[in-house]
């Protein structure tokens, strides 16, 4: 595999202000994404996992500049995305697309499939005339496995799986190189998930796409990703090659996450690490290592010093004091 970096994230931060008081002044920040760095290579799939509220979706949206980053650097094919002006950004959007979680909310209910898929073509002027546009739409729909007979229909006439295909088709219409898939299958029925996962994999091959695959379901992430990044409370705790991460998770959080997954095999018995308590609020995250209140191996230093996020060999990044001591 050639290690050409398509996307490089450096020290990305996204804070949301918390306003309170009589004058609605900003009194605190929700540190949804707090200083994360990673990269995605061309043609690979990077899985980004974490529990709800850990900032993974925010990270995805911030990379696309659907949300304005608070700080950091996002380099995409050599351009720093954060420095683009509105017009340049609009141009750049052809290269990066997003697929959403909720197939019901992500399609405009008042537009026909042809219009939904045709919209990116209209916006970027990718078709010279109506005929060409329709041909292109037909072609894309065909690619995602939808027949042309659906073109004049509205989203609510479709099942969840078909809708997700429409969402994929829309993303594909501009012929992007990067697709951020934000929990693309978690709202789908079990029997449909596989269809969409297979489709995504096929498309990746056919169009040499790069994916940032955001999900909370580790089994899906494991299935589809080349590398996996684990987030906890706005921070990356571990990033590694898929095999390495699942065989040899270094961070205690990754370990407990892996052990918490129920396995569809009644004979399989795992030594489950049950974490105590809930994920703390990102407004006022714990000091030091953010995982320390729930960490079964927490030490004194963990509550005081934030562990460094660093490479523990062969691109296996992690942030944990345990590892440093070893």
């Amino acid at each position: 595999m050639t290690e050409e970096r398509l996307l490089e994230i450096k020290n990305l931060k996204k804070y949301f202000p918390v306003k309170a008081g009589v004058f609605r002044r900003t009194v605190a920040h929700v540190k949804a994404v707090d200083d994360i760095s990673f990269h995605i290579n061309k043609g690979e799939t990077l899985g980004l996992v974490g529990e709800s509220g850990c900032g993974k979706s925010t990270a995805g949206r911030t990379i696309l500049r659907l949300l304005e980053a608070t700080e950091g650097e996002i380099t995409f094919e050599g351009h720093n995305l954060l420095e683009l002006d509105k017009r340049e950004l609009r141009e750049m959007r052809k290269e990066m697309q997003i697929i959403f979680q909720d197939p019901y909310a992500s399609l405009n209910p008042r537009m026909t499939v042809a219009d939904i898929v045709g919209e990116p073509i209209d916006i970027h002027g990718l078709a010279a005339n109506k005929k060409e546009r329709n041909e292109r739409v037909t072609e894309i729909l065909d690619t995602v496995g939808l027949g042309t007979e659906y073109m004049k229909r509205y989203p609510h006439e479709f099942s969840g799986g078909q809708r997700q295909r429409i969402g994929v088709a829309r993303a594909l219409a501009v012929d992007p190189s990067l697709i951020i898939a934000d929990e693309p299958v978690s709202a789908l029925d079990v029997s449909i998930q596989a269809q969409v996962i297979n489709l995504l994999q096929d498309l990746q091959k056919d169009f040499s796409l790069t994916y940032l695959f955001i999900a909370h379901d580790l089994s899906v992430v494991k299935h589809i990703s080349d590398r996996v990044a684990v987030m906890y409370l706005g921070k990356l705790v571990e990033v590694a090659d898929k095999q390495k991460l699942f065989d040899d998770p270094k961070h205690p959080y990754t370990q407990s996450l892996l052990s918490a997954i129920p396995v569809a095999d009644p004979t399989y018995k795992s030594d489950r690490i049950i974490l105590e308590g809930d994920v703390p609020s990102p407004v006022n995250p714990p000091s030091g290592c953010r995982f320390h209140p729930r960490c079964p191996y927490a030490m004194e230093i963990c509550s005081e010093v934030e562990p460094e996020y660093k490479d523990y060999g062969e691109g296996h990044y992690a942030a944990c004091h345990l590892l440093e001591q070893e």
């Binding site: 309170a20 008081g21 009589v22 004058f23 609605r24």
Partner: protein
């Protein structure tokens, strides 16, 4: 929540300022001589009235900011000016009429809110039953009848034919009583004063005069509240926590009254705020028809006579009232909904 209320209170002067500028600007569309006619009642007065000196005297030809400044500096000192329509200072006129309107509005609101909510709940619980259809038809038809038609019909039937509910605020004999020295007017609300003085005849007479206007003004809002409550209730009855309550073995009556109604009231509270707004408008018509001397009638006549001190004063007063009502709405939200209260 408290912060929010403080914020609202801080914004109050801004809104009131805006309202006063808006109304003032509207009034300035009228030429100075035309505005002067407030002071001239008949052609006979034209003979000796020196129009130009009057314009001069009242400063009607001055630029906007000067006239406004003059007025607002008076207001800041508590002087809202003289109302020709009322023949009193605006403050006096408003204070004098406020109890009447308050009494009417309160009596109109209480049955509306209580009755409308209960009917709405009833209608929602009996969704698609004949009773539901009857109340729905009532609500749509009730909402479609103009107040002035309805008021006239009510007057015709209940006073003209039956002689039950006379117009005005009190009968002459009753007003003799309340003006007598034994009778203490604590609140100027006749019903309450009557009760406090243990004079049931006055109470009875006051109520007798209030029934018809209350009835004709509230029919519209009954229909409205009913409708909102119904749909809100229908929505609430489909909520998961209703299912939870049922799954605990809670009686259906309790499910409706305890679990559903309180939640369903949250949107109704907003509407109740709107309702008060509309009610104030409706008072203009109702008070006119029933010869009930309150703020609504005052506003109508002040407006039609271009009595600008009164119009401005009343506009500010209404604005103030409305903002207070909105605050009340917000507070009642908080009472009902802990999510807001504990914010």
């Amino acid at each position: 929540m408290i912060n929010y209320i403080i914020r609202r209170l801080l914004i109050l002067p801004v809104i009131l300022f805006g309202v006063s500028v808006l109304v003032f600007a509207m009034l300035m569309l009228v030429g100075p001589y035309q505005r002067l006619s407030t002071y001239i009642k008949s052609p006979a007065e034209l003979k000796t009235a020196n129009l130009d000196s009057l314009v001069e005297k009242y400063g009607l030809n001055d630029p906007f900011h000067q006239q406004y400044g003059r007025w607002i500096s008076g207001v800041l000192k508590g002087d809202f000016g003289w109302s020709e329509t009322a023949g009193a200072t605006v403050t006096e006129a408003v204070l004098q009429r406020f109890p009447a309107t308050l009494e009417l509005a309160l009596l109109a609101l209480i049955p509306v809110i209580m009755g409308g909510i209960n009917l709405g709940v009833f209608s929602a619980v009996h969704h698609n039953d004949p009773w539901d259809h009857v109340t729905r038809v009532f609500s749509i038809v009730g909402w479609s009848i103009p107040t002035f038609v309805f008021g006239l019909v009510v007057l015709m039937i209940f006073y003209g034919v039956l002689g039950w509910f006379p117009p005005g605020r009190l009968s002459v004999w009753a007003s003799d009583i309340i003006r007598s020295s034994e009778f203490v007017q604590y609140t100027h609300l006749n019903i309450i004063d009557g009760l406090l003085n243990a004079n049931l005849k006055v109470v009875g007479d006051a109520i007798r005069h209030l029934v018809a206007p209350v009835f004709s003004i509230s029919i519209l809002w009954w229909a409205y509240i009913l409708r909102i409550t119904r749909s809100s209730m229908l929505e609430t009855l489909r909520k998961d926590y209703i299912r939870t309550a049922r799954s605990k073995g809670v009686k259906e009556r309790v499910v409706v009254k305890k679990h559903a109604r309180k939640n369903a009231l949250i949107p109704v509270v907003t509407v109740a705020g709107h309702m008060v707004l509309g009610l104030l408008g409706g008072l203009v018509i109702t008070e006119t028809i029933f010869g009930y001397q309150g703020l609504g009638q005052f506003f109508a006549s002040a407006a039609s006579q271009l009595d600008y001190a009164a119009v401005l004063g009343l506009a500010l007063y209404f604005g103030f009232l409305l903002i207070l009502i909105n605050l009340c709405v917000d507070v009642s939200y908080a009472i009902i909904d802990p999510r807001i209260r504990l914010e």
